[in-house]
Subunit: 338 residues, 4 copies
């Protein structure tokens, strides 16, 4: 089978390079081009590479192109990791030109005709594309992955919602610096320190969770930045609608599977949620790569009172929280609409 052709926008950033890293070894997709802002245009991928693993050999000498809607080739999927202010201009133009854009940027996420997808949770929302095309007169489409913190939170919430209902939710996050982009958090701001605020993040967690779960969930969120490179940790308190046995919750989380697992999609983790029973897990440095960065690791499951559950969830913010979730979504689309 010929590989599906993809093009990566924002290839000089952390998420853009996570796309490149994953697509370079992907069985279904290949990267035919990379674009970024004018500043990096003409440089080789190797010369702008910022990840801890080396650049994929077959793309190391690829030239980063200047982002230009007109010159994006007719690929099967465009993966976008552009800054939102750029994305909000570029992505609609690409969709209008017939391209399918799977995007990380926060623009349009809450538009009712835009799928905001965690493939294990709401794959059916990909159907919104039809309405989107009709309404907007596009031949292509824009599909979004949620905010990183939201995705990592929602994966364990889904089975809990399905089994016991969610009456109320308190979340406190400790988020990795990579979530702000390579230069987003100066070392002077975070060494021997933490910052108890991330602009716009709490609002995204609330609004996007409601869209994904299709419930008006009562969520209180506080999002903080800690001196961790990769991996968002989230301390979650759930007041459920119905009472539960703690062991049943652990089982529901471990047994949770979605369409990607059923379809055996290439990057679908065997288990979207991994439960650790040691008292001191999950930890970002030890658990962020679970399931190739695609699993959310849950630990410290506790029943604090009737209908009151606590746990800690951890996921790789630029894999499951970003590029990985988008690629899994694209796999799903490729399978559904071959």
């Amino acid at each position: 089978m010929d590989k599906l052709r993809t093009y990566v926008l924002g290839a000089t950033g952390l998420v853009g390079q996570r796309y490149v890293e994953a697509l370079a070894r992907h069985p279904w997709f290949e990267v035919v081009g990379l674009a970024a802002s004018e500043k990096s245009a003409g440089k080789t991928l190797a010369s702008v590479w910022i990840l801890e693993s080396p650049p994929p050999p077959q793309l190391a000498e690829a030239k980063v192109e200047k982002l230009d809607v007109e010159s994006v080739p007719k690929v099967d999927v465009v993966f976008s990791a552009l800054p939102s202010e750029v994305a909000s201009r570029v992505e609609p133009e690409l969709a209008a030109r017939g391209l399918t854009v799977v995007s990380n940027s926060s623009n349009m996420r809450l538009d009712p005709d835009v799928p905001l997808v965690v493939p294990e949770i709401n794959p059916e929302d990909l159907r919104l594309v039809e309405e989107q095309r009709r309404r907007r007169g596009w031949r292509g489409a824009v599909v979004k992955k949620p905010n990183c913190t939201t995705t990592i939170l929602n994966l364990p919430l889904k089975p809990i919602l399905d089994h016991w209902g969610i009456a109320k939710l308190y979340v406190t996050t400790m988020q990795a610096v990579s979530g702000a982009g390579y230069s987003g958090v100066p070392s002077m701001a975070i060494v021997d320190n933490l910052v108890p605020h991330i602009r716009g993040e709490e609002e995204k967690v609330v609004a996007e969770t409601r869209k994904i779960l299709k419930r008006d969930v009562d969520i209180s969120a506080t999002t903080t930045r800690v001196p961790v490179l990769d991996g968002h940790t989230e301390v979650v308190y759930v007041e459920t609608e119905r009472d539960f046995e703690l062991e049943s919750v652990a089982e529901a989380l471990e047994n949770f599977r979605g369409l990607p697992q059923e379809l055996k999609l290439p990057t679908a983790p065997e288990r979207p949620v991994v439960v650790r029973r040691e008292p001191d897990r999950p930890q970002p440095r030890l658990d962020r790569w679970a399931g190739g960065g695609m699993a959310v690791v849950v630990g410290r499951l506790r029943k604090l009172a009737p209908r009151r559950l606590a746990f800690v969830a951890l996921g790789h913010n630029t894999i499951r929280g970003a590029a990985g979730n988008s690629i899994l979504t694209a796999e799903l689309m490729a399978k559904m609409w071959p």
Copy 2:
């Protein structure tokens, strides 16, 4: 006035040295001796000093004595920063010998006849000493400071409780490595990482808060360790009994004063709770020294729903959370029972 004579137990540890540092410049107290385990006996204080500031010149060459109940001199106050397993043996013996011990160790904290004191909140509990002496037949006494996380939490809780009542509480902490003692957290465990569990800590927060506030408060707590040297950060959600105006809460926190402020005790901070209104404060590196390490800095005050309050509190865990709170308690005792 002659200074009150004090003796410091556990002088080789972080908290023990915070005692020494503060007592060396104290207007009422002086240090007449230091003790630690056999390992350090005979060494000079300077040679075992581990704080970031230099040792007090007048004590730098003082010899650390081997801890021995018999040889503790008849001082006015013994400050104890011993490991709990040692303290639980030594402290009662000292009290039996007529010494007043103000202690950091976790033993005896929940005994009904032992004062567990945050001087701004429950100074009246110092009276328990009379019962303690009567019951135990001691001429001296043991007085305790609460767990560091508990003290930092309770200072802002107190005015909220008094004005609006507390129906329920969710707390998530991000605690400094110094809380585990100098060698408590290996760098391999915490660089580029966090640990979502601190043994015994959550239980202490719940039980001690109830004792201090004299209420059966409904508390859910998750305590974590982050790569910060000093300063515990706590994300707090309070469901109050009565509804509030957000600005009134800010004012109640800012106007909160206790007996130490009224009596103008030497180390009492002008304001026990400082409110910051910037969106990104408090931060441990910037705010831990507020009020000389004795103030708790509160920020991100938010009204999330009717009767639902959120905030972030930060305090210096080895000052207000430990040695500083004990010294303030000793000042109060000296004033009350001169």
Copy 3:
């Protein structure tokens, strides 16, 4: 005595704020105005403050002015912490207008008529100002402090040079992130990492050392960045011209004094070089504030072979390495040319 009036350029940066912090409590100087780039113009100092200690109360509400040569008032000293590309335009204009500029920026440092001063080492170079004025037709003057790494290196080198001569020098530095400015080193670049290169730094160390010491010293330098907030550490190997006794070197370093000590200038440290004899000192977190940040702490003094000396030097890069050295220079100028 009326205080000398000063004006600070670059007041939103780390070094600019170290100026403000020190000048606000200075017995001879007062700050009458602050300027920075257009971006911060009109903001209060408190709102742009980035140091770990709070802004000086008397200046907290001072407005940062937009940098404009025409509107700099006729003060006694202008302290400049501007980016070099701005400084190279602004400083000459200020000097031409009659202002005395004491500057941190790297422009003009190697010009033969520009004093490049470590006050304990080459105070006599301040006389170059006369030639500078004559040559350039300025009524004012521009005086420079050296690169931070250079200053910290040269203080211990000076007595060694004077006593034993320096045949050759090998230096490896481990520099704090603050040396690159608040946003200069992203946390993604330095957490669990180090970077073995700082652009232009090695060339500065070589050229500036030769100008300060007035010798064509044979220097090999490698400068690196490490995850430390403040305090540059330098591992130095010196091949001396004449053989030495190790203890004599320790004494020469400890006994080293300069004109600032003789004149008892307000911010002159009692000892410009402090010698520590413990095997594991100096350490940045423990030693950077020695002498109020104005002393260089030397440790690990070793005689490795005849005429071969090794030591480790540490200094606070934004105090002795920057603002502090400039203020000490201004004190010297105020004393010499009252």
Copy 4:
């Protein structure tokens, strides 16, 4: 072919687990048992696992045995990562019992009849085993890998020595915390800090380098600890005996190969020394896994003067610096004496 049977001593430590991790996927070796101190005896490997990657599935439930010379089975190789004070007792007893011990511990390294081997540099020293057996009356043998810093230094030194000779050497290291073992460096000692001393390390670098290179090299070394998890960085200045072209040095390093490469041993890296030409490499986080952790990455190659070379070398201290070098040595022995 049946796999060679190995037994790992010190399996609860960082290096012991690097052995297990590598041996579990090794084509020639298998692990038949693990031992550690009494404290961990009886626990599963999974329950004591401290590496960032998960324990090998086939060994996760293996029980850690109590170290006991008598009960070590008759395996083909014993890999030892014991503390030196234990190793100095245990290893000779095992060798006397006929076992071949390949060891990380520092005891016996300088004994003239003990091979101290970097397989690319001095494989011929394995022959010393014959003399060792004869002298000591052992049927087995003890073979040592050098100190981690020494191995990483010597790999690039070897081709330089061979081509241009080494007159003198100045080395300054910045070493990872894992070099001190999991609990060796408390976070309080190293966050926002560095420590300019590692006990005994400089002496090892000097003495072991001379043994490995069989030259009385003039070495000055300063070894420091920095807040990096894995990967030792070394800044090296070499005064060569004969002058060189810089590009020839780069080529000599890149073209350097040894017997392991010739024999295509399973864990031999394609290139023992990798040369990076970017100005800011090597960096520990980015380069420590080069060649599977078995390559030393060299950068910042500079010719500072005639016959004066500078470079920065980096290697993974627990792979090439420890377990990896020992396994490569064992592969060589297996090939030479099948």
